[in-house]
Symmetry: none
Subunit: 214 residues, 4 copies
DNA sequence: GATGAATGAGTGTTCATTCAT
DNA sequence: CATGAATGAACACTCATTCAT
């Protein structure tokens, strides 16, 4: 059994590695070509596998896609929750910390946020197991909630003006995704420069000033 | 002669109407399905024409797409320029006016901004007459410049903090496109409500407060 | 009536001119692009008419095609018959005369011979009025017969070896069409030179020597 | 390893078989319908495959076409070179041998020679890898050169009149392609008979007599 | 577990042809 | 008589997906 067990574990590990490998390849391709244009064969080639093998690890092309998004959202909601729970920082500092956090997320997967939108717009979701959809919503909700609670903290301390916290969370989210969109379109012509960070930093500064009570 | 002329004019009008008709149909479909998923046949059906007829008015599927974008950008850049040139309003009031302006633009064509991005990412542009591309860039540039000048006015009057005007224009743009993105994804589940206006209004308020000198 | 009659005549003339105009345009286009690639719209544009107008003068795209071929064949068979009936020339001289004749035909319409073949190979003929088909065959037959009779003359005078005249006529025809084919393919790379005449002249010389009795 | 190797070899063989299968089907269809009229679906059906499968073995419809032509030209140029190098036959006998050779070629692929012309005329070549084009020209040139050398031999031995060898080679080529053209058009009405051989035999006889010195 | 081979269901686009005016 | 507008029917080609091995 020891042997069987170890083998099983190895197999599991191998499987996970393969999945990761495919996701990584898909991420790159969805990034450069977009979801519809990138073909399964492209992904397979990039992952050094046969197209058929992809279907051993994912039900669908859409499935790959959603898995990718879930990955990111998981990372994002974890980071935001941790930020919210952070004891040693005040609300202002936490907003300051968002700069770094968003930059990390962007580096983790630059285009996925935009893709995320696209997924919802397409009918791709209709062919997906419903559990994935709810998982998607759950994580997105969790992220926004963590964000909102940071504002609650600020308002409780009298540091922030009494805007609805949910709205503030939405706006932060909006600025982030908007900036990514904008960054990507700029990159078309200037592929080397990093426009995102300075711009987003300013935006968050202004935002902080804008919600801070005098 | 009068007759011939009138006929010619009528024909021109009819042609314009058809073009408009097709663009309208395409707008709806690109909106609901996205560019790649919406087929030319879909558009034709929506416009109550045969697929072949589409090609009497547009060279390409891409051509429809770009025409749609140019339409919007033209409208947008005109409105922004007018706002900048407006004599009877101070910079703060102009920023206030952006609320209504953006809402108008959104109603004019809700999803086109996102599509715009996608267009640049695809290789659709490679098959297009290069003049269209430059037209695209020209209009986008003009819009941002008008915006930036409003901030210049504000800074000249000592009302706005000395952030670089270009950066401010970018941030406004970012907030707007981000908000559209976010609105659209919300509409998936709540198709009736208008989330955009209140949220964008708050965002612009905060933004104005954030850049205003004490 | 005199007036009515004159008008009718004028109309007839006008019609013929239009037909000719269209045929001329079609000839040029079938020549440069080939039958399948040249579109009816191309022909219409070249003839300075609307596509629909073409159908007032011809039943079909195929109909244009066949009319073109009939034109040539008529010319060809007339010339060959005249040559056969020519009193003042001996058989050798008549074969010599073929050089000039073929060159004329080629100038009249360089590619039509090849097109002719293609027509037969396609199923274009099936949609045609059967009278045209028989007309086609009749003219082709007449041409070959005139040719054969020239050889009969030569054999009767003891100048030509006793090859079957029909076979000889076929061979002359073969050399001619083959040479046109070959010429055309050469023209692809050397569009200016006239390869046909010298080569066909040599071929006919050799042919004459080959069939002449010692 | 032996196993892997054998499998690889089998797979290669299978692939070659499929290619051959498709080429065979295409040959038949281009023959009966012509290149433009024969559809890829036709070819697929004839080859008992799906249209999509065709594209696993050929890049293009044009690619099929050119492959077919190259096949023939290769065969032809090899045979002609062998004939030229043949030690045990004099020039007259070699020309005699052309009869059989041409008949073989015709049986190998009756219509391809005509198609070859068409290929050059179309713009199909523009989408092809340029190496194929040069391969095409190389083989055609090689064939004609072998032919010309046979005449050089004959002239060196004083058996042939001093016509330019290149011209003679051209004429032989012309007679052959012309005869194929002619044969095909005859076959339309008499599909069973073989007109080509007797006529081409006579033509070559006359040709040989025509170039032989007295 | 992995893959090479195969395909069904589209997709954008073209074009000969028709018809109301 | 002439035409602008429209379309039905194809066609070459693609791609996500399956399955025997």
């Amino acid at each position: 059994m020891g042997i069987a067990e170890r083998r099983e574990r190895e197999r599991d590990l191998q499987q996970k590695r393969r999945r990761e490998q495919i996701l990584e390849a898909a991420k790159r391709l969805f990034h450069t070509k977009g979801f519809t244009v990138a073909t399964v064969e492209d992904i397979a080639k990039e992952a050094e596998l046969s197209p058929a093998a992809i279907y051993l690890y994912f039900k669908n092309k859409d499935d790959i896609y959603v898995s990718l998004n879930l990955q990111l959202l998981e990372y994002l909601s974890d980071r935001l929750e941790a930020l919210y729970l952070e004891k040693d920082a005040g609300p202002d500092q936490k907003i300051e910390a968002l700069k770094a956090l968003f930059h990390d997320i962007y580096n983790f997967d630059p285009l996925i946020l935009i893709n995320l939108f696209h997924l919802q717009a397409s009918d791709g979701l209709k062919t997906l197991p419903p559990e994935r959809l709810s998982q998607l919503n759950r994580l997105a909700g969790k992220s926004l909630r963590s964000l909102a609670r940071i504002f609650d903290q600020g308002k409780a301390e009298g540091r922030f003006a009494p805007y609805p916290s949910i709205a503030l969370a939405d706006i932060v989210w909006i600025m982030f995704t908007g900036a990514v969109l904008w960054e990507e379109s700029k990159r078309m012509t200037n592929p080397d420069k990093d426009f995102l960070k300075p711009t987003l930093d300013i935006a968050l500064d202004i935002f902080r000033r804008g919600i801070t009570t005098p």
